[in-house]
Each structure stands twice: as structure tokens, then as C-alpha cells.
Amino acid sequence: MTAIPRKARPLGSSLGSGIVFAALVALWWAASHAGWISRVFLPTPEATLDSLRAGLAAGGELASFTLATTLRMLEGWLLASLLGVALGALIGISPTARAYLQPTLEFVRPLPASALMPLAIALLGLSPAMVLSVVAFGAMWPVLLATVHGFAAVDARLLEVARCLQLTRGEFVRTIGLPNALPDILAGMRLSLTVSLIVSVVGEMIASQPGLGQAILLAARAFHASELFAGIVLLGVIGFASNTLLGYAERALLKWQST
């Protein structure tokens, strides 16, 4: 359930960088054509492109698979974020709750989300619900822990200001607690999204749910390297797009930080 948060950076800032990447692709082309690495493992770039085109075209399944994986990821992530923020806020504002619950939270933190799959399978079988529940549970922790931290780490001065103004608990959460925790919450949500994608893919592999995870597993088993690579490319695109968009949202919401 731990992963590195990404900082979205502007692309193509230097032509040289693009040329280096093109050179790597050229290396790929050479390696596959010259047979340095067997074409069973390393398809040619054109073959990959063909598989991508065919798969994304009207008759192909890659488009629907990509959509399925993306939706699964988003669904789980949104659910996880809502639960994580709600529970995190409740635990975060109460020092007593934190004292009793924090150690347990710290124990669950390093637990791999996918480790809960056998348990989920035992309870829910090999179903979409199983995958969604593990995704949501796994993706909840980064947000929950970040929210708890965000609420617990309110500047002592702001706590006193709240007392001086006699803010009620609810007003405090709304005007001070939540905004103060927002940077932490957003960072947690970014981690969450990464976890969400990973667990969705693993879930699709294990539970044979339609999606990119299952697609690349089947492609590997059938030795269809180009289809495998096409799937990997698409998963990279999902990862890239979701992180970039979240990065924009984060910057927009935290405008006051850069001023």
C-alpha cells in the first residue's frame, strides 16, 4: 500500500530529451529486428503499434478493456477517498481516538493491499465486487493516514485562535481542520490512485475480470508479445494521464501555497 507520489511535470521541455527517447525506441527496433532478444519476448515496435491500432479500433477489445480498468480504478479510488477522509477526520481531531487507534493503523499501513485478496475471494468469490472491495480498502489507507496526520498537525496557534473565537467542533473542522489537512489529503489521494490502479490490475488478473490486467495475462500465456506490449503501453497511459490530471487539480486547489 506504499508507492511514490508523482509530481506532474511539463513534458517536451527540451527537444534533446525527445531525441534521446526516440533513440531508445530506435534501439528497441534494432534489438527486435536483429533478433538480439527473441521476438517471442520483445515484439517489434511496429507490431506493438499494429496491435494497439487493431485493439483500439471499432472491432478490437482494447478500448473497452482500457475503459473497464480505468473505471474500476476510479470507482475504487473515489470510494476509498471518501471513506478515508471521513474516517481520517473523525480519528484525526480526537487525540484520544488517535492514541488508541494509531498503533493499529501503523500496523496496517505496510500491509500489501493485494494480500487481502484471498480473504476477499473467500467472502465474495471471484467477482467484480471482490475486486472493487479490495481496491477500495487498499486505496483507503494512504488517504486515511494522510487525513489523520493533516488533522493532527494543526498549528497550536490556530487551535488557540479557534478557542478564542469559540468555534464549535463542526465549524473548526470546516474552517480550519479540513483546509489545513487538504495538502496532506491530496498527497494521500495521489498515492491512493497509484494503489488503486495496481490493485485493479491484479484483481483483474486473479478474478478474470474483463480489463487490461486480464488481457495482458492472457496475451502472455498465449505468447502474443505484441498484444502484451500494447496492453502495457495502455496501462502506462492510464497511469500517466491520471497522475497528470490529479497534479493539475492539486495545483489548482492549493493555489495559496505557491503565492
Binding site: 506504499t2 511514490i4 530529451s17 534521446v20 531508445l24 493499529t104 501503523e106 480473504l119 495496481i198 500465456r221
Partner: protein, 252 residues
């Protein structure tokens, strides 16, 4: 009282386990899906006895460690290079941005294809997963060496080698161990995930098999053990990070 404070972290999990135990014994009584914690404990002891605990744990930790080693070695090497050479950093930008977003799990089928099942496949995926954080954090650590320290090195007339060894490297070490701690966590998570998804070895696989054989006690025993191992490994890594930070003069 000191004893109650020492016990405080345990109240919640104990209560939860007790509730779970009571629920399964009294309400459910017989289930293929779940087992009471007491049964899981018994199963756990059985796993120690027949040696499967040691075997599986050794496999998972071993593959995680080896994958981490490769990922760290390559990541730190590239990270130092990109950190010291602005040109290299700029030229590598697009390639890094294109390759990094690929989730490590997407490479499981590829690793399976190339290496078949076993140790090498898992090491490969773990190495890929840990390479990126080590690369980026090392690069960050190197570029963020205090400009003032670099000015001092110029004023003192240090050679490039002296500068790297006496200033840059020591300045980075603390942050490198923070990166390492993070990567240790990732390595373990990815290793277990690979075992659950595909690789028929290790703790993750043992847990899957237990579930498929409708042995919930053993499944839960593995789940608990994976949690304990993860916690212990993370705690050790954190301890190491703190020791290094103190030695390198961090204020604590």
C-alpha cells in the same frame, strides 16, 4: 499508570480479535471462508512446525531483497549521474516520464513470459518497481545539496572528486536512507503481489493456496504473518534510517 499506557495500543486490536473470535465461534460456527483467530494461531504454529513458514518467508524476503539490490544499485547510479549532470537530467526527462508511469504489476505477465515462474521473475518486477523511486529520490538528494556548501567547496578549492566525496555524498546519505526505507516497503509489497498474482512461490502464494483449499485458518495465519513481517521490515528500515541520520548529524 505506566502499564496502562504501555497496553494502550493493544486495546483496540485485542477487542477486535475477541469480537471476531466470538462472532465466528458463536454465530457462524462453521465456515469455509473464515476462521476464528484461535484457529489461525493453531494453523500458524503448524506452519512453523512443518517448515513451510520459513521456506515461504525466505523466498519472499529473498526475492524482495535481491530485486531491491538491483533496483537500488541502478537507481542510485543513474540518480547520482542525473543529479550531478544537469544535461543528463534534461536529456533523460522524456524517457523517464514515458517509462515511469507503467505500473510494476503490468510487467508481471512479461516477466512470466521471459523467465517463467520462480525467483528471477519476481526479482525482475521488484527491481523495476524499486528502480524509479531510488532514481528520483537520489537525483533529488544530489541536486538539493545546499548551494552554500558547494560555494564553500569552491572557495576551498576542492577538486571534483573531493567535492563529490567530501561534500555531495555525505550531504546525500541521510536522504538516501530515507529513499531506501521507502523502497524496502515497495519491494516487499511488490514481491507479495507478484506471488498472489502469478508466482507459485512465497508467502503470497501460500496464502492463495490456503484459500483455494478452503482452509481459512491457514489463510488467515498467512495474512497475519505477512502483516507482521511487513511491519517488522519497515520498522527495521526506519531504525536504520534514523541511525544513519543521527550519525550524519541530523538534529534529533
Amino acid at each position: 499508570m505506566r502499564l496502562t499506557r504501555w497496553l494502550r495500543p493493544w486495546w483496540f486490536p485485542i477487542a477486535l480479535l475477541a469480537l471476531f473470535e466470538a462472532y465466528l465461534r458463536v454465530v457462524v460456527q462453521q465456515s469455509d471462508a473464515l476462521a476464528p483467530p484461535s484457529a489461525a494461531l493453531r494453523a500458524f504454529i503448524g506452519l512453523i512446525g512443518d517448515g513451510s513458514l520459513l521456506r515461504a518467508t525466505a523466498f519472499t524476503l529473498g526475492s524482495a531483497a535481491l530485486g531491491l539490490l538491483i533496483g537500488t544499485a541502478l537507481g542510485v547510479a543513474f540518480g547520482v549521474w542525473f543529479g550531478l549532470s544537469g544535461r543528463a537530467a534534461r536529456l533523460s526527462l522524456v524517457s523517464v516520464e514515458m517509462l515511469r508511469p507503467v505500473p510494476a504489476v503490468a510487467l508481471i505477465p512479461l516477466a512470466m513470459l521471459v523467465f517463467g515462474f520462480g525467483l528471477r521473475m519476481e526479482i525482475a518486477v521488484v527491481a523495476f518497481a524499486t528502480f524509479w523511486p531510488m532514481l528520483l529520490l537520489t537525483q533529488g538528494a544530489v541536486t538539493q545539496v545546499d548551494a552554500r556548501l558547494l560555494e564553500v567547496s569552491r572557495v576551498l578549492g576542492l577538486s571534483a572528486w573531493q567535492r563529490s566525496v567530501k561534500i555531495v555524498l555525505p550531504a546525500c546519505v541521510a536522504r538516501l536512507f530515507v529513499a531506501l526505507r521507502l523502497s524496502v516497503a515497495i519491494a516487499l509489497v511488490v514481491a507479495v503481489t507478484v506471488e498472489i498474482a502469478a508466482n507459485p512461490n512465497g508467502m503470497g502464494y501460500a496464502m492463495m493456496i490456503a484459500q483455494q483449499s478452503l482452509d481459512p485458518a491457514q489463510m488467515l495465519a498467512w495474512l497475519g504473518w505477512i502483516g507482521v513481517v511487513g511491519y517488522a521490515v519497515n520498522a527495521l528500515a526506519l531504525g536504520l534510517q534514523r541511525v544513519v541520520a543521527r550519525r550524519m548529524g541530523a538534529a534529533s
